[in-house]
């Protein structure tokens, strides 16, 4: 991730700190690798010591050691010294049962209703790029409240995704629940420019807060559809020294936060 940070922080650092703040103590988060895992671990080290992380590979409460963040969700380095290992289908079913507070993923392409695409660029019948596909993304987004952390770029924030891999609010309004998705849904999109939520009625994406120094116009310029703006637009608090110190301990080689 090339830097587009502010106030001496990289974009990835800003993303990670704000993502960590979205998590509360005692919660259970189903995390993807990369920024989501880093943010969940940062939350554990700062304000949420009893937060529990689940991984798609079948891992409950892994032993994350500072400086040794696991590179994937289902290998031995990730599984060692966890609280519990279980079959993939069963860890996914914990989402369906309701044990998980938040699913937490990165995103390649998102639309105004929070739908995510990781399957096709272009027409799925004749794609210009065949992407790796859903993995557990579709299940997590179908069954849990979602946090998405991603870089705020116009090519990533599109009016309509080419393919709904992981459902947000589908076509907005009540279309998600009408399809049978009765729980979960997009909760918050955390970017390097600000925090976004969704309008309670239309389910269209809405700017909720700006990072210091960012303007609404800048965010709109990096967004491929007209952005709603919350009635009271907040300004986020910049990363604190304590958060930054913890983050540096977790990622001393700045693999993820450069």
């Amino acid at each position: 991730m090339t830097d587009r940070g502010r106030g001496g922080y990289t974009a990835a650092e800003i993303l990670t700190v704000h993502a960590a703040r979205a998590l509360s103590d005692g919660q259970v988060v189903f995390a993807g690798i990369g920024i989501p895992l880093l943010a969940a671990t940062l939350a554990q080290q700062t304000h949420a010591p009893t937060l529990t992380i689940l991984f798609e590979g079948g891992i409950i409460g892994p032993m994350i050691e500072p400086g040794r963040l696991p590179p994937s969700t289902n290998e031995a380095r990730t599984a060692r010294k966890a609280n519990m290992l279980l079959p993939i289908t069963d860890v996914m079913l914990l989402l369906q049962r309701g044990y998980v507070d938040y699913g937490f993923m990165g995103g390649a392409q998102i639309d105004q209703y929070g739908n995510l695409n990781s399957s096709f660029i272009g027409d799925p019948a004749s794609p210009s790029v065949r992407l790796p596909g859903t993995g557990g993304g579709n299940d997590i987004a179908s069954l849990a409240k979602m946090l998405v952390a991603m870089r705020h770029e116009k090519r990533r924030f599109v009016e309509r995704v080419d393919f709904v891999t992981s459902p947000g609010f589908l076509r907005g309004g009540t279309s998600r629940s009408a399809s049978g998705l009765l729980a979960g849904g997009m909760h918050r999109v955390i970017t390097d420019l600000g925090l976004l939520g969704f309008d309670p009625e239309t389910k269209r994406m809405r700017l909720e807060a700006l990072h210091p120094g960012v303007t609404v116009e800048q965010v709109q310029a990096e967004t491929g559809f007209p952005l709603l703006v919350a009635p009271t637009l907040e300004e986020t608090r910049p990363p604190t020294p304590a958060e930054m110190a913890a983050l540096r301990r977790l990622d001393p080689e700045r693999m993820l936060t450069k």
């Binding site: 590979g57 079948g58 994937s72 399957s119 859903t134 993995g135 993304g137 049978g180």
Partner: protein, 321 residues
């Protein structure tokens, strides 16, 4: 996903299988003889973990064709199946070399050109498909995959129903029934009782779902060892057709508690694929699959130094530290 198979046929297929407590130890080559052209083959493990590499290696050498291959998450092993012509239809939820290697040029080449098919289901749906089959059911209900384009792509197989208890809409995942499952585990006895350390992935359901199971293992243990801790047995012998002892049978992938993946080999492989695409993949197959005269020679080409290092670190992190 062939959920329309009548129950009577499912039962008849199983009734015809030899389920006795008999010695099933054989060679890689003979075991792979149980796979027929056109079969649906399910693979154990996930991504780069506990993949039945030795069995797939023998499968490619045997030049099977028209296989449908399924797995929860598919990595570079799927590239080999495409590039070797063994399969042009992979059923999976996620398909590239491995999470750190990005989009696969080989998968892109085959799928974007229409020469091969990547049939995408959600990860849990692949698991529920195996589980439905393992349970002797035509489907399992789900609350996932509804409303998405993933579901739309497999419409007719993924269905919906109205729950008679709640009136809610439920998705239905059809049974996923491999003709053959290739499964690699840490230990098994000669009868096929399989023990899995660490992450079980979808392998228990896969074993019970399939019509035939070929089990490879790091080592064969006595039935007495199995009976010492029967609560550790994960795969029952009567679903297994053949047992093959293959040390490093998942290398260059990892096997929990036995060895890590061969990072350097995988990095070199990834770079070669980025640079050379399908042609590079075919060169890799020539060098690593068709070239060696035995699996031991395949391991020699992976490299003794890296294997020993992977074994040392893989054991240490689980058992020593």
């Amino acid at each position: 996903m062939d959920a329309s198979v009548p129950y009577a046929e499912v039962r008849a297929r199983l009734a015809a299988r030899d389920r006795g407590l008999r010695d099933k130890v054989t060679t890689l080559e003979d075991a792979i003889g149980l796979v027929r052209d056109g079969d649906h083959v399910g693979l154990s493990g996930s991504t780069l973990s506990r993949t039945p590499i030795a069995l797939v290696w023998a499968l490619i050498r045997a030049r099977r064709k028209d296989l449908v291959v399924s797995r929860g998450i598919t990595s570079n092993v799927g590239e080999w199946l495409y590039a070797s012509g063994v399969s042009s239809h992979v059923i999976t939820s996620w398909f590239c070399q491995g999470i750190i290697y990005g989009v696969s040029r080989v998968v892109r080449d085959f799928t974007e050109s229409g020469r091969a098919r990547f049939e995408e289901w959600s990860h849990m749906s692949i698991g529920l498909g195996y589980r439905a089959a393992a349970m002797g059911l035509p489907f399992l209900p789900t609350r996932s995959m509804l409303g998405s384009d993933v579901a739309r792509q497999v419409e007719g197989r993924f269905r919906t129903m109205t729950c008679p208890y709640t009136g809610e809409t439920l998705g239905l995942v059809p049974a996923l029934r491999p003709d053959v499952a290739l499964i690699h585990v840490q230990r098994a006895d000669r009868y096929g009782n399989g023990v899995i350390d660490g992450l079980p992935f979808m392998d228990v359901d896969l074993a019970l779902a399939a019509d035939r199971v070929i089990l490879s293992c790091e080592r064969i243990v006595s039935n007495d060892q199995i009976r010492r801790a029967p609560d550790r047995t994960k795969i029952p012998f009567f679903c297994v057709e053949a047992v093959v002892e293959v040390p490093f049978g998942a290398s260059p992938h990892e096997c929990y508690g036995e060895y890590e993946m061969l990072f350097r080999h995988l990095d070199r492989y990834a770079k070669a694929m980025r640079d050379g695409g399908v042609e590079a993949c075919r060169r890799w197959l020539d060098e690593m699959v068709y070239g060696p005269t035995s699996h031991t020679e395949f391991l020699e080409r992976l490299g003794m130094a890296e294997l020993l290092e992977a074994q040392q670190s893989g054991r240490r992190m689980i058992w020593n530290d």
